[in-house]
């Protein structure tokens, strides 16, 4: 049976179609979820896509956190449902307190879009088990508020527990503390990542195929490979 991976559309979501395409290319069935519908329609995992939910006018992700679908997702995530937040999705996960810390304005104050090398630091999550530890991957970043911040205690804890999932290599594009590009919760089922793996799944349109690993990881995870 093919896995069903939900992709949430908030008003202002932009990369939702791309996330659904990536799910399809990885071999799963994408299921579109609507912000106003609290039901997850029985999906096996959820992607919160990139974009500017609600215009990102107050703080990125601040308003989306209160969407009806998010209440269900927060509960399900606490129960172990794999959830991947990409860019705006990462911001929403932080705002919803599923992940610690916050994403703030890029330190150079500009939106930045570039092809970025990341090092996968943790392969123990539901979304990264298909990578090798320390593997370097090429994935586009594109964000205006991607600078990850948290207090020192939180950062130290993330490091100590192996919850820094990916780091920027060869230049930090937004000033993130400790070059953090992606983190996970303690259980490893919820991952937030600032770069866009869904834009690195086709040779024609992406800088690499490295993004596919995130989506195949969750399939592996769902068929029972230990996370």
């Amino acid at each position: 049976m093919t896995a069903r991976v939900g992709v949430v559309t908030f008003p202002g979501s932009l990369d939702d179609g791309d996330a659904a395409r990536a799910v399809r290319i990885s071999g799963a069935e994408p299921v579109r979820l609507w912000h106003g519908d609290p039901s997850l329609h029985g999906v096996d995992a959820v992607v919160l896509p990139g974009g500017f939910s609600y215009g990102d006018y107050l703080r990125c992700g601040a308003i989306a956190r209160f969407a009806p679908v998010m209440e269900t997702i927060v509960d399900a995530a606490q129960g172990g449902l794999p959830v991947l937040g990409i860019c705006n999705g990462f911001q929403i996960l932080c705002e919803a307190h599923l992940l610690p810390g916050a994403l703030t304005r890029n330190q150079h104050l500009h939106f930045r879009n570039r092809d970025q090398i990341l090092r996968i630091e943790s392969v123990g999550t539901a979304w990264t088990n298909a990578f090798q530890p320390g593997q370097e991957v090429l994935i586009p970043v594109k964000n205006g508020e991607g600078c990850y911040v948290a207090d020192t205690a939180t950062l130290d804890q993330l490091e100590a527990e192996g919850r820094v999932v990916a780091r920027y290599i060869g230049g930090n594009p937004n000033g993130s503390q400790r070059d953090i590009a992606a983190i996970t919760n303690a259980a490893g089922n919820v991952v937030g990542i600032m770069p866009h793996p869904e834009h690195a799944v086709e040779a024609l349109t992406g800088p690499s195929l490295d993004g596919l690993g995130f989506f195949t990881s969750v399939l592996k995870h769902l068929v029972g490979a230990p996370a």
Binding site: P11, D18, G51, G55, Y57, R112, N113, H199
Partner: protein, 651 residues
């Protein structure tokens, strides 16, 4: 030095151009940086609104038409059309629709060459005269594209000016039934090291990025040129590309008497009504100018919802006609939709949702508030339309209905009431189609001969390797040739997942059909310095460059759009440059065998009496049957160590 005779005279003698006093209208009218002229003491607007009935009884009342940019003969013609003086609201509407920006009164006589010289094309589903040209690219798919300017606002408030420039062209594309899928941004700024360039450039780039990124439209190319001639008048041109199934093509005609007229999107506020604020009623206190913002603020989030809601309406076949609200707001949308169908329209203006309740009828009609569309809907589909809008959180309000043409077959009339007072009663076509047309005087600029005499051959040439090296280094360090990454990094080029080529490639390539690989290539180019030296060949050169840039991606060029940025048309030298540029583009298109499908004219780009370099910007669109066959710019290393041969084509 030659003086060209007026080539065309198709309007009554009174409306062909004599040497006339300067018009106050700037290129993008209704937009003013400075406070409008004080209201003439003679105007006596009483407490209430200026109704048709009142206008009938006060035919001698003086009206501030000069301050609104209308000439004596234009005002007389309005009175002749109406058989009375116009009401305040009508005067505002005529001043807007007969402005250079909306009526193309100085450019029309030249632009018609694009139609006359156009090579035949079976692909063209909609051409000049529509919101944007539509070109068929397969049995069931079409694309639409157009480039427009938002130059003056981008100088005063660079971020918002640029942002709303992108927003405006996106709505043009949306109105054709298309999903917007990419943008491009040809830009011109003053000298790179001028302090004000830092303000304008950073603001404009952030605005183009801020709006486009937030809409989820990949930016696939553009231009960045520095030249002192743009110091006080930068150019922000924005191009948008859209895709539609052939059978989803929309049009703006308000057909079908009894159909409902729906205003959709943002609330209407006092945005950009500076141009008509001389009509403010006498009860307005001093300082009321402060309440009339000349710059609009964009709301890309609302526009994104507008796009999704409109596409759902099209797919449900819920609309008969649709028109975006741009620079001329409701005035333009109401008159153009009615005129296109030959119908009349009845509008209850107090139903328009307002951001500020105290607005007067003429302000509502002139408002340039962004993120709005006008729909024509069959009554039994109204509920479904409102429901779709509600789903997306977009405001939609029935504000009027389509009425029948006159019994004798003449077009219907546009009747607008404000709380049961009739404030507008006009034939819509008189605003849209019967505006003044001028064949303005033209003269080759006096300095052209000298400019042309100063030839490149007289420049010192590098004589030895060291000098050559130094020249090359100087060139690649010059702002116009240097790396553009600082700009392009601020734009999302990945969103939607169909960008096959983007910066720094010569042309952008977008995949249109994921199953077949069908796609299009686009390039926009212009060269103001060349056009200054020779506007005819300079424009051909811009066309040829865009054509080549598209061709080298592997695409077959099939259609052209353009944005003609010039100084004041009242300057015979500028008018000559304009005429030469249009002639060059039309001839070039004929030679290359591709049609101009649409475009935009921006006049009055000058600082004081000094015009910018004539800057025709030309966009060319090509088709690729399979985007996998695209040819990127870089030489790709061959597997197995085989070497490629390199050839130089051309002279």
């Amino acid at each position: 030095m030659t003086t060209h005779p007026d080539p065309v005279r198709d309007t009554p003698e009174a409306y062909s151009a004599p040497a006339q006093p300067a018009e106050p209208s700037p290129a993008e009218p209704a937009y003013t940086a400075t406070a409008p002229a004080p209201q003439p003491a003679t105007a006596d607007w009483t407490d209430g609104v200026d109704t048709v009935q009142r206008a009938n009884g006060t035919s001698g009342e003086l009206q501030p038409y000069t301050e609104l940019g209308l000439r004596d003969d234009e005002y007389d013609r309005i009175r002749q059309i109406l058989g009375r003086r116009p009401t305040q609201s009508e005067l505002a509407m005529y001043s807007i629709m007969w402005s250079e920006h909306c009526s193309y009164k100085s450019s029309k006589v030249h632009l018609r060459q694009f139609g006359e010289k156009a090579p035949h094309s079976d692909r063209l589903l909609a051409g000049i005269g529509e919101n944007a040209g539509v070109v068929q690219i397969s049995a069931d798919l079409a694309v639409t594209f157009k480039v427009e300017s938002h130059n003056h606002p981008s100088f005063v408030e660079p971020y918002q000016g640029a942002a709303t420039g992108v927003g405006g062209i996106v709505r043009d594309i949306l109105a054709m039934g298309a999903r917007p899928v990419a943008v491009m941004d040809p830009l011109r700024f003053g000298a790179a090291d001028h302090p004000d360039t830092a303000r304008v450039l950073t603001g404009v780039v952030a605005g183009v990025g801020g709006y486009g990124n937030c809409l989820g439209l990949p930016n696939i190319g553009g231009e960045l040129v520095f030249d002192p001639s743009y110091q006080g008048n930068p150019l922000l041109n924005a191009l948008c590309l859209g895709v539609l199934p052939v059978d989803r093509l929309q049009n703006k005609a308000a057909a079908g008497p009894g159909n409902v007229v729906v205003l959709m999107g943002a609330k209407t506020g006092r945005d950009g009504i500076g141009g008509v604020s001389v009509l403010a009623s006498a009860t307005f206190d001093e300082g009321s100018e402060a309440r009339r913002p000349a710059v609009q603020v964009g709301d890309p989030f609302t526009e994104k919802l507008l796009i999704e809601a409109c596409l759902e309406l099209y797919d449900g076949q819920l609309v008969v006609g649709i028109q975006d609200l741009g620079g001329a707001g409701l005035t333009c949308a109401l008159t153009e939709t009615a005129a296109a169908a030959g119908t009349g329209m009845r509008v209850w203006l107090e139903r328009v949702p307002l951001r500020e309740p105290s607005m007067d009828p003429h302000e509502i009609l002139a408002s340039e508030s962004q993120e709005r569309m006008l729909l024509v809907v069959e009554p039994d589909k109204l509920d479904a339309v409102l429901k779709t809008c509600e789903k997306w959180g977009v405001l939609a309000t029935a504000i009027g209905e389509v009425t029948a043409p006159e019994p004798d077959g003449r077009p219907g009339r546009l009747l607008i009431t404000w709380q049961d007072h009739l404030v507008v009663d006009v034939p819509p076509g008189s605003l849209v189609d019967d505006g003044p047309v001028y064949a303005r005087p033209m003269r080759e600029p006096a300095d052209l001969i000298l400019l042309q005499a100063d030839r490149a051959e007289t420049l010192p040439r590098p004589a030895d390797p060291e000098a050559l090296r130094e020249t090359v280094l100087r060139m690649i360090a010059s702002p116009n040739l240097a790396d553009k990454t600082w700009v392009t990094e601020q734009y999302d080029r990945y969103v939607l997942g169909n960008t096959v080529l983007a910066q720094p490639e010569d042309g952008g390539v977008i995949r249109i059909d994921e199953r077949t690989g069908l796609g299009v290539a686009l390039s926009v180019d212009g060269n103001g310095r060349y056009a200054r030296l020779d506007p005819y060949n300079g424009t051909k050169l811009a066309l040829a460059e865009a054509y080549r840039n598209v061709a080298v991606t592997g695409a077959t060029p099939i259609a052209v759009t353009n944005c003609l940025n010039f100084g004041s048309p009242e300057d015979p030298g500028v008018m000559w440059q304009f005429a030469e540029a249009v002639r060059g583009l039309a001839d070039g298109c004929l030679e290359l065998g591709i049609p101009v499908t649409g475009g935009n004219v921006s006049f009055y780009n000058q600082t004081g009496a000094a015009p910018i370099h004539p800057t025709p910007v030309v966009g060319v669109l090509g088709v690729l049957d399979n985007v996998a066959d695209r040819v990127p710019m870089g030489f790709v290393p061959r597997p197995g160590g085989d070497h490629d041969q390199i050839y130089l084509l051309g002279e």
